[in-house]
């Protein structure tokens, strides 16, 4: 499992006076469960895009294990992400017309053309695990909660060491949100993945060992989560 080292990360967007993100240093041990909180516009999505390699860090280093993903080209970052990161977004990004099972396997199918052995069984297992009873059901006929659970299964089917979710419960009702929150934490623990969740959802935050709080692009001390079940250590150096 890779640990995360971030240093001197600064992200500026044209038209913004202050940097959208300014993180001198951030370290997370492998297998950490971290909630990323902060008001809207504080830079949570920006940070997640950088940590997952969806965007390139313009300055500073983002090192997962021994890979500085800031140094990778676009294609290499795509490949690294495909091999290391499972993503769950606020919107489910499922493809209508395909079944739940097909959606879970779609990125794998597109990446390898021939499915790696065991992937299909893993997909079936994960779908059962997240409570989808009919893997052949077309995704557009699922409820929103079910859709997000299919998305969780898709994020995990390649057994990534890093699981990242951006507001995974924000577009769900309370019950569906709670189910997804529980699943994320439980499944990450099952596979031992590092879990980073950007969220406002108190219930989701409560399930995390550690909380990072962003304000205007800077990390502010939030400390260990007292409600956390199994605290892990993370070194956070708030901006000077």
């Amino acid at each position: 499992m890779p640990e995360l080292h971030v240093s001197d990360l600064v992200v500026r967007f044209p038209g913004l006076e202050r940097p959208a993100l300014d993180i001198p240093t951030l370290q997370l041990p492998a297998g950490a469960h971290v909630a990323l909180t902060g008001p809207s516009g504080s830079g949570k999505t920006t940070l997640i895009n950088i940590l997952t390699g969806l965007d390139r860090a313009p300055a500073g280093r983002v090192i997962w294990g021994d890979t500085d993903i800031g140094r990778l080209g676009e294609g290499a970052r795509d490949r690294w992400r495909a091999g290391h990161v499972g993503l769950v977004m606020q919107e489910f990004h499922l493809f209508p017309g395909l079944s739940a099972l097909e959606n879970v396997l779609l990125p794998q199918r597109l990446a390898t053309f021939r499915l790696a052995p065991g992937r299909r069984a893993e997909a079936d297992r994960l779908l059962a695990r997240v409570g989808i009873e009919r893997p052949g059901q077309k995704v557009e006929t699922l409820s929103r909660g079910q859709m997000q659970r299919v998305a969780v299964a898709r994020a995990l089917v390649a057994r990534p060491p890093i699981l990242v979710a951006d507001e995974p419960t924000a577009s769900l009702d309370a019950d569906a949100g709670a189910a997804v929150a529980e699943l994320l934490a439980a499944l990450a623990r099952e596979v031992g993945a590092t879990l980073i969740v950007a969220t406002h959802d108190a219930r989701l935050i409560a399930g995390m060992a550690q909380v990072l709080r962003l304000e205007a692009g800077r990390l502010v001390p939030a400390g260990a989560n007292p409600a956390a079940p199994a605290p892990t250590h993370a070194a956070v150096d708030p901006a000077a």
Partner: protein
């Protein structure tokens, strides 16, 4: 990957169908123009194959060819009978056959000619050829049976010509299919036509110029009157042994003349064919003569010899080539219009595809975010576009072929000229070229998808 493309196309089937249809229609337009022009060229060239040299009275060369080869009714000046007589004995001539038009039966041209042209057109497949003056041979596409008889009409029905009610031809043979206007015609011995039209006055009645062009009503009426007069004129009973009518008792009244005439016609049409009638010094005129020269050199010499103040000699092939020149100009204009329509369609299609891809930025970006390689995502978009374009192109070629066939059939039914509609090797090239262009155009949305940043896509 293919499941994704299939699911995507099914989901957007109406839009994809509309685009494919648009492409198909634009393609079909071009295909029809190309195929029809080629078919017209081949078909008319084939139709003129049996006609090496055509001789007529001075006038329009094109009209002479259209009338003699394609049997288009038109008022042509007659050639004096001496021309046919001279050609018949010319050593450079394999055969010279008259083409005497002017009569119709149910809108089918009744053409007076002689045995050599029947043979030149391919001969008789059913029944036998002319033996008596009243024998007729029908073209391959005439829906009549052997043994049927008919009364020829003078001029087309709408031109209100008279019925030669007293004259009856009996169909004794069927011509081999020629794929030309002659398939719709009925051939009769030229002598019979002469007798029908000018008993006792042959040569005086210009039956080639009697306004069979149905539009020319005044002329047609005039011709009909002239004809009636000619028929009402006192005349003699024809002598079967002689080509022209012999002397007899002049009729006293019009009714008497008519009665006499009917009797004489009925009697005369039983007479056997007399080839010498053609070369008789007093043989009546004909509107056109088809000449088969012995050699190519003879053909040119004959054309030279018969380009005089009184005669016009043309190679139908040459006249057709000139016509194609004009046709080619028209085709170019048509092709220009077609091309513009196609460019418009192409632009519209590209726009729609681009808008579609832009609208799906999120989906495309998401594919990459979840681990699909960007090249594959790009290929998916490209393949999808190519499938729709390819379906449109293939459909367009099929549709164009169908429409061209339908048009050709319509033209065949009206003119008898069989138009061979078919694809040539160069069309395959055109298809591939279009397909390649389509493939290149499809690259545009694919590249757009390739360059789509996944992060921006997910944010949007």
């Amino acid at each position: 990957m293919f499941r994704l493309i299939a699911a995507d196309l099914v989901r957007h089937r109406w839009g994809a169908l509309a685009i494919a249809l648009l492409i198909a229609l634009a393609t079909a337009l071009g295909v029809v123009v190309t195929l029809e022009e080629r078919a017209l060229r081949l078909g008319s060239a084939r139709a003129a194959a049996a006609f090496d040299l055509v001789i007529g009275a001075p006038g329009s060369e094109t009209q002479l060819v259209l009338s003699a080869v394609f049997l288009q009714p038109a008022p042509l000046t007659l050639l004096p009978g001496s021309v046919l007589a001279a050609l018949a004995t010319d050593p450079r001539v394999a055969y010279a056959a008259p083409v005497g038009f002017g009569d119709f039966s149910d809108d089918r041209p009744v053409i007076g000619t002689t045995q050599p042209l029947v043979d030149g057109l391919g001969g008789v497949t059913e029944g036998h050829s002319f033996r008596r003056l009243g024998d007729a041979i029908m073209g391959a596409a005439v829906p009549r049976a052997l043994g049927d008889s008919f009364h020829p009409m003078h001029g087309l029905a709408e031109a209100r010509g008279g019925v030669h009610s007293a004259i009856t031809y009996r169909i004794v043979g069927r011509l081999a299919p020629t794929g030309t206007a002659w398939d719709r015609a009925i051939l009769v011995p030229i002598e019979a036509v002469w007798r029908t039209h000018a008993p006792g006055t042959h040569g005086a009645e210009d039956h080639g110029s009697e306004g069979h062009g149905s539009e020319d009503h005044e002329d047609a009426n005039h011709a009909a009157e002239g004809h009636a007069q000619a028929e009402a004129e006192p005349h003699d009973a024809p002598d079967p042994s002689e080509p022209g009518p012999a002397a007899g008792t002049p009729a006293r009244t019009i009714a008497e003349a008519h009665r006499q005439r009917e009797q004489s016609d009925a009697a005369g049409f039983d007479a056997p064919i007399n080839p010498e009638a053609l070369t008789a010094p007093d043989a009546p005129g004909v509107p056109a003569i088809v000449v088969k020269p012995r050699t190519i050199a003879d053909a040119y010499r004959l054309r030279q010899a018969y380009r005089t103040d009184h005669t016009l000699a043309v190679f139908p092939g040459e006249v057709l080539t000139r016509l194609y020149g004009t046709l080619g100009d028209a085709r170019q204009i048509l092709a220009f219009v077609t091309l513009n329509a196609q460019l418009l369609v192409a632009a519209a299609v590209l726009l729609v595809v681009l808008i579609h891809v832009m609208g799906r930025r999120r989906q495309i970006g998401a594919l990459r975010a979840f681990g699909a390689p960007r090249a594959v995502v790009c290929a998916v978009v490209w393949l999808e576009a190519v499938l729709v374009i390819g379906a449109g192109l293939a459909g367009g070629f099929a549709l164009g072929f169908g429409v061209a066939r339908l048009l050709a059939r319509q033209i065949s039914m009206q003119t008898g000229v069989v138009l061979p509609v078919g694809f040539a090797a160069e069309d395959g090239g055109a298809f591939l070229l279009l397909f390649a262009i389509g493939g290149l155009a499809a690259l545009l949305p694919a590249v757009l998808a390739y360059r789509q940043s996944p992060a921006a896509a997910l944010r949007a």
